[in-house]
């Protein structure tokens, strides 16, 4: 058995090896979640013509309601995090993440009404692209690459680095014309 797997089994966090136990855990969480959504400032971004709302656990400690009436919740269950969108008390979308792999940075798309994990890279457009390496160093990016033909550059962040706060930092930098989150793509498979 692997070291990682051994650590899973010795963990004190609740374990759910059976569907019934899972269901119990989910129900428990829904019961203890606040019945009414709270008012909370929302961090908003734009990607591919879609407005995104930050819902990562660090940003969303209470359920919030979007302008269209969707209630967004975050729950932690042991090694897992669940993001849930509810409309008229019906769960319209939910997404689980295994936090032992990495802390997920998640946004909610206001158009497609789905949760998306943010990729650990950031798209930037600079007034002076020659400054890319300086910018990369300042935000502690692990790698940077210019794509002159495409008119932008990409910064790769370290594992564990928060791309959402990095984008916010970059957006407030006058040397940077544009900084944008990158969403994790759907899984691409050989056909």
């Amino acid at each position: 058995m692997s070291r990682k797997q051994a650590s899973r089994l010795s963990d004190q966090a609740p374990r759910f090896h059976h569907a019934g136990a899972w269901l119990y855990g989910v129900l428990l969480c829904l019961v203890v979640a606040p019945a009414l959504a709270q008012t909370q400032p929302l961090n908003k971004f734009t990607h591919a013509d879609q407005a995104l709302i930050q819902v990562s656990e660090t940003a969303l400690t209470e359920p919030v309601t979007t302008e269209s009436g969707t209630v967004l919740r975050v729950e932690r269950l042991g090694e897992l995090i669940r993001f849930t969108a509810t409309n008229a008390r019906v769960v319209t979308h939910s997404q689980w993440y295994d936090v032992t792999r990495r802390e997920p940075h998640v946004v909610f798309g206001t158009t497609d009404k789905r949760f998306h994990e943010v990729a650990n890279r950031v798209l930037v457009k600079l007034d002076n692209p020659e400054r890319l390496s300086v910018i990369a160093e300042e935000v502690d990016a692990v790698r940077a690459k210019r794509y002159p033909g495409l008119g932008y550059s990409i910064l790769w962040l370290r594992p564990g680095q928060n791309p959402i706060s990095t984008v916010k930092q970059l957006q407030s930098d006058h040397r940077i014309k544009h900084a944008e989150l990158q969403l994790k793509r759907p899984l691409m498979i050989p056909l």
């Binding site: 797997q5 899973r8 897992l80 319209t92 689980w96 993440y97 295994d98 158009t111 498979i189 056909l191």
Partner: protein, 823 residues
């Protein structure tokens, strides 16, 4: 007896009119068959015979009785049969109309009317004077709301990262069904491969890996670590992973909840991550010994290691190239954007551009890099088959080297980008990068991959748009992509219409819905649509790929070399077990999928670019569309298929159309199967490159419908019109439709667009699994069916809700056109 000619005579003269006596005729009626079944696509011929032969025109009306209702239960071509002078037989045809309802059989009697009162002079009813037909129900039950809610299906996809001491297995559990799954567990087991089909001891077994409930169309990722110190040097191991519970095996024999990968340990006890050429004697012969089995290139009806052969002539028609050896793709740079590429493979090495390939897993800054991997060697450590290596052989395996097969373009220059192993960085893989890798120098990108159900794919769209406008010194790179293998992927529910339209359309992958990509469907060796090949209005052309290589031929291509590696190390029949035809285990005879179709087109494009290097990316599309042919095999239905929904007929399947610009189109095939001989002939017949006019992309023309209710279970649906004020002298190159709306179950919807010229295109088939269970519609769809027509004028959108229950609204829709000015 009436003996007067009603019209009289126009003879000159002042005498009385000459009254000709009418010869009496007798009519009889017969039918080819007496039974029709709803939904069968069959039709009955009704013949009316006249005796004797007479030299005048006669009309014979038909009358109908019984409990079957015209245009509800059946349709008929002609209710009045017209006989020209001396004609003795006339025919009409009756078809049953399907209604997807359960009902009793209906009867229909076709008979002659009372001719005496029907103003049919000189016509008498003979015997038989009537036929009675039965219209049987096809016993379809209407879909219930629960059935439409669909099912759960977990698809497991695994990948691995290899460190010096530890391998990390990433499990991607993807719920491709339409209902959330229940919590479950996964397990992983590793064992030694002794030889193909024989396994040794279990090395590691990890069970009870928790998998939470997974929302429809979402993926849950988790990972486990393997201790590489427990694996011996020079041995090959397999890793099998499973998500419980196992699903029922479907008709294709898939077990989607399991996945396997393998790896080989090198002499130093590390996982093999670099390609080392095998030590083999040079062949003394020059022929490609497996060419005789390459039916996609020359189909003689050979069986290609399957039980049955195909249909002679159903290939890419490259007889001239095979005879003369030119063009061969020389000087054309082709990137295989895939899982990997075995650059030392004996049949590929000759065409690999030294230092040109790129291993996306070799970046040391990447926490998931493969230990010891070389940046210029996209070697796939997974020993159970490298999809990219099989794709590469189809494109450019060397010819006349005494080994295995030949590619379509056997002198093309190959670059391997193992983009799929990293799932990242399309800028680098698709032409946006000038170094590490230099993808800007690529002429043709082969993309034999896809994704499940994505309505958004803007980043890739911008990159391929850049590539088509800027690469190849502005002529534009060519992107060739697989349509998808979802025709039989009924992950929601199964319905008879899926046999015509497919379970899930090719529009489930957002990158298929942009005009910068050539989307390719797959054909089998009999010249029909391959059973799995996704259909849709975004297809451009089709190419051979085959079935499964068991009863019917698949594609024979290169495999990871050696008996213990590659697809051939798995439990496949055919070439994998034929040590005389493939003595070293370097080839595979069961490769299929639209993954196998796309590289045939990529190879063809390489031939065209060598023949005429000045072709723009639009020229390439134009030449392929202009010269594609209708495949000769059977198609699902040779007529349009209409169904009575509520009280109105709705069209859910279109047979081949010929649009107003003269292009044939079918959602199963695009413009048809590529034809190399015809394409080369067109180029050599004075084709002028870059003569299609400047391509323009219009703004969106938008119609706000503000919550317009889509009538439930009503074939009339919504019919909306939109005028595109665009140059009338222009020619459509693609039309994109954007829809915005909500519906309690979008799977109910069929979406059709009609051009100002009257050409119809079904852009979303009814009961499309891609939309099953979805409630929010924000979708861009592409149709190529209008290619060459004028975009100017009034377009018509039809949205039909074909199932009872679940309702919704259309909030807006919009069109935009790509167009040029074609000679």
């Amino acid at each position: 007896m009436l003996l007067l000619n009603a019209c009289g005579s126009s003879d000159s003269g002042s005498g009385p009119d000459v009254v000709e006596p009418l010869t009496p005729v007798t009519t009889t009626i017969t039918a080819g068959e007496l039974e029709l079944t709803e939904g069968s696509q069959n039709e009955i011929e009704i013949w009316v015979d006249l005796t004797p032969q007479v030299n005048r025109s006669i009309s014979v009306p038909l009358a109908f009785t019984g409990n079957a209702t015209k245009d509800q239960d059946y349709e008929i071509d002609d209710e009045v049969l017209s006989f020209s002078p001396n004609q003795t037989r006339a025919t009409t045809r009756i078809r049953a109309l399907d209604d997807w309802l359960a009902e009793d059989a209906e009867s229909l009697t076709v008979r002659f009317p009372d001719f005496a009162t029907n103003r049919s002079p000189g016509v008498n009813a003979g015997i038989p004077s009537s036929v009675t037909l039965t219209i049987e129900d096809n016993l379809d039950e209407p879909l219930t709301a629960n059935e439409k809610r669909g099912k759960v299906e977990i698809y497991l996809y695994t990948s691995a990262s290899f460190g010096a001491e530890m391998a990390t297995l990433e499990l991607n559990a993807l719920n491709i069904g339409t209902l959330p799954s229940s919590a479950t567990t996964a397990s992983v087991i590793t064992y030694q491969l002794i030889q193909p089909g024989e396994f040794g001891q279990v090395i590691e077994e990890i069970s009870d890996i928790p998998i939470p409930p997974i929302e429809r169309r979402t993926v849950f990722e988790t990972e486990v670590n393997l201790d590489l110190q427990r694996y011996s040097p020079n041995e090959t191991y397999w890793i099998s992973s499973t998500v419980e519970p196992p699903p029922e095996e479907d008709s294709t024999g898939r077990l989607p909840n399991t996945d396997q990968i393998g790896f080989t340990m090198d002499p130093h006890g590390e996982i093999m991550v670099r390609c080392e050429a095998p030590d083999r004697a040079r062949p003394t012969e020059t022929d490609d010994p497996l060419f005789a089995s390459q039916w996609p290139l020359r189909n003689d009806g050979q069986n290609a290691f399957a039980e049955d052969g195909g249909r002679a002539g159903e290939d890419i028609r490259m007889s001239e190239v095979l005879a003369t050896g030119t063009p061969s793709g020389r000087g054309v740079n082709v990137a295989v954007v895939d899982t990997g590429l075995e650059i030392c493979h004996p049949d590929l090495a000759q065409n690999i551009v030294e230092g040109g390939s790129f291993n996306f897993k070799a970046n040391p800054d990447n926490g998931k890099a493969w230990h010891n991997a070389s940046a210029s060697d996209p070697y796939l450590p997974d020993s159970r088959g490298d999809h990219g290596t099989t794709v590469a052989g189809i494109i450019a395996a060397a010819a006349n080297n005494g080994l295995g097969i030949r590619g379509v373009a056997p002198d093309a220059s190959l670059f391997g980008f193992n983009f799929l192993s990293e799932q990242c960085c399309e800028e680098d893989a698709l032409g946006g990068s000038s170094e590490s890798p230099n993808s800007e120098r690529i002429d043709v990108f082969n993309m034999s991959y896809g994704s499940f159900g994505s309505q958004y794919n803007e980043p890739d769209n911008s990159i391929v748009r850049y590539g088509t406008s800027q690469l190849r010194d502005g002529l534009g790179a060519i992107y060739v992509k697989s349509a998808g293998n979802a025709f039989r992927l009924c992950m929601h529910f199964e319905h008879q219409v899926h046999a015509l339209t497919g379970c899930s359309s090719s529009s489930g992958d957002g990158l298929n819905d942009v005009p910068y990509v050539i989307v390719v469907g797959a054909l089998n060796a009999a010249g029909g649509r391959a059973s799995y090949s996704s259909a849709g209005s975004n297809l451009w052309v089709s190419a051979p790929a085959g079935e499964y290589g068991v009863s019917d031929p698949a594609t024979v291509t290169t495999d990871q070399y050696g008996r213990e590696r590659g697809y051939s190390s798995r439990n496949y029949p055919g070439l994998a077990r034929d040590t005389s035809a493939d003595p070293f285990g370097d080839y595979f005879s069961n490769f299929n999928g639209t993954s196998a179709a796309a590289p045939h087109v990529t190879g063809v494009v390489a031939l065209l670019l060598e023949e005429e290097p000045a072709l723009t990316w639009r020229d390439v599309k134009h030449v392929l569309a202009s010269t594609a042919r209708r495949p000769g095999g059977l198609i699902n239905a040779a007529t349009d298929v209409r169904v009575m929904i509520g009280n109105r007929l709705a069209t859910f399947y279109l047979d081949w159309i010929t649009n107003a610009a003269g292009f044939d189109f079918h959602n199963h095939f695009g413009f048809g199967v590529v034809d190399v001989d015809a394409a080369l002939a067109l180029l050599r017949d004075g084709y002028q490159p870059d003569n299609l006019g400047t391509q323009s992309m219009s703004d969106w023309f938008t119609v706000s419908t503000d919550g317009l209710q889509i009538p439930d279970h009503d074939g009339a649906g919504i019919e909306q019109r939109l005028n595109l004020d665009l140059p009338s002298a222009s020619n459509i190159e693609a039309i994109q439709l954007h829809l915005s709306g909500t519906h309690e179950n979008l799977v109910d919807l069929s979406i059709e667009l009609e051009s100002p010229s009257g050409t119809k295109s079904i852009m979303n088939p009814v009961f499309n699994g891609t939309l099953a269970g979805e409630e929010t519609l924000e979708w861009r769809l592409l149709s190529n069916a209008f290619y060459g027509e004028s975009p100017r004028g009034t377009w018509t959108l039809r949205v039909i809700d074909a199932a009872e229950g679940d309702t919704g609204t259309l909030n807006s829709w919009a069109l935009r056109a790509w167009y040029g000015t074609h000679p």
